[in-house]
């Protein structure tokens, strides 16, 4: 036992030393780039002119790499669907209390009623302002889902509509793809944001379709996370 342990720890030590040497050579040979590489320089110079977005990161995510974003949203959708599928098939505990949590206090319920609109509004602010300030659809959607989580925590017995959430998710996903196809027809390519006027630089309604697309992504991500939480919460009903 002890000999085995020492050989194992010796191997671990050698591996750690090798890893340390590798990282040290990387860190020692590091020199910061004097200038941006060609792709980054192109984005830095042309983003504001071509898309009208103040936040370059958002412009890259939504327009230049829009197809990747569609793929990410699809991955999230698959995750939510698989969670619902797996949990829906699991053995339903009979007479379960509906949640692993004890009933909550009155202060938390009252506070939730006051805070939920503020949280939802803040999530909407994050994804609508994605082209001006940091943040965007994914972060805003996560904040929306956090609001739903607060509701579920405050009132564990509460049941709310599957129908609304799944409908929001389907409609926003469909409109997202339709806007992408409209980009092919009306402008330069799939998910081109210039189907709407670019507007004045830095205003809320500017940068073409970017605020619209990010709103749809936010709603879709929020609905997907909420449906994951919901299926964790109440699959014993199924």
């Amino acid at each position: 036992m002890t000999t085995k342990f020492t050989t194992r720890s010796f191997v671990a030590l050698v591996l750690l030393a090798l890893l340390g040497v590798a990282f040290w050579t990387l860190a020692a040979g590091y020199t910061p780039d004097a200038e941006l590489n060609r792709t980054a320089a192109y984005y830095a110079e042309n983003t504001a002119r071509e898309t009208g977005a103040q936040n370059i990161v958002t412009a890259i995510i939504v327009t230049y790499r829009g197809l990747d974003t569609l793929g990410e949203v699809t991955v999230l959708f698959l995750t939510a669907a698989i969670v619902a599928l797996v949990l829906g098939q699991s053995k339903a505990p009979r007479g379960g209390s509906g949640s692993g949590f004890l009933p909550s206090g009155e202060l938390l319920q009252t506070g939730t009623k006051m805070l939920l609109p503020i949280i939802m509004l803040f999530g909407a602010y994050v994804f609508v302002n994605g082209h001006l300030t940091p943040g965007g659809g994914f972060q805003g959607g996560a904040i929306l889902a956090s609001g739903i989580l607060l509701l579920l925590l405050a009132e564990p017995k509460r049941r709310f509509g599957h129908a609304l959430i799944s409908r929001v998710e389907s409609v926003s996903g469909l409109v997202y793809v339709l806007i992408g196809i409209a980009g092919i027809v009306l402008a330069g390519g799939f998910l081109d944001n210039r189907i709407l006027p670019l507007g004045t630089f830095g205003a809320l309604l500017s940068a073409g379709a970017i605020p619209l697309i990010y709103t749809l992504i936010g709603l879709k991500v929020g609905a997907e996370f909420s449906s994951i939480l919901e299926s964790l919460e109440e699959t014993e009903d199924a």
């Binding site: 909550s104 206090g105 202060l107 938390l108 506070g111 006051m114 805070l115 503020i118």
Partner: protein
């Protein structure tokens, strides 16, 4: 970071940082969970509010966002500390021996 109120703002920020430090000290030194909740939420909330107010003096153009953070913290921090204290009570944590009264246990009519 200039303006007529820059020095006042910096002093308010310093006062807030001092309250944060006291909160951290209390969090480290207090004997049981309930007193740690007192130190860890009340003092740090006041400290953060003071830092935000001082930042509003230093950068007058930011006051809307700072005010939003301030209001949000004022709503949420007392709520989370209450839920936390309740959780500590339900988890059955014994208060320090110096504690005299346990109003929640008296209300529920059982000595958990």
């Amino acid at each position: 970071m200039t303006g007529p109120f820059a020095l006042i703002g910096a002093l308010i920020v310093l006062a807030g940082a001092a309250f944060l430090f006291l909160g951290g000290l209390g969090l480290y030194r207090m004997p049981d969970s309930y007193t740690r909740i007192q130190a860890g939420t009340k003092a740090t909330t006041l400290g953060t509010l003071l830092v935000l107010a001082g930042a509003a003096f230093l950068m007058p153009g930011w006051w809307i966002k700072l005010m939003l953070i301030l209001l949000f913290l004022m709503f949420t921090n007392p709520l989370s500390s209450q839920v936390l204290a309740r959780a500590a009570h339900r988890a059955g944590i014994r208060p320090a021996p110096e504690t005299r009264a346990d109003a929640l246990a008296d209300d529920q009519g059982d000595a958990s």
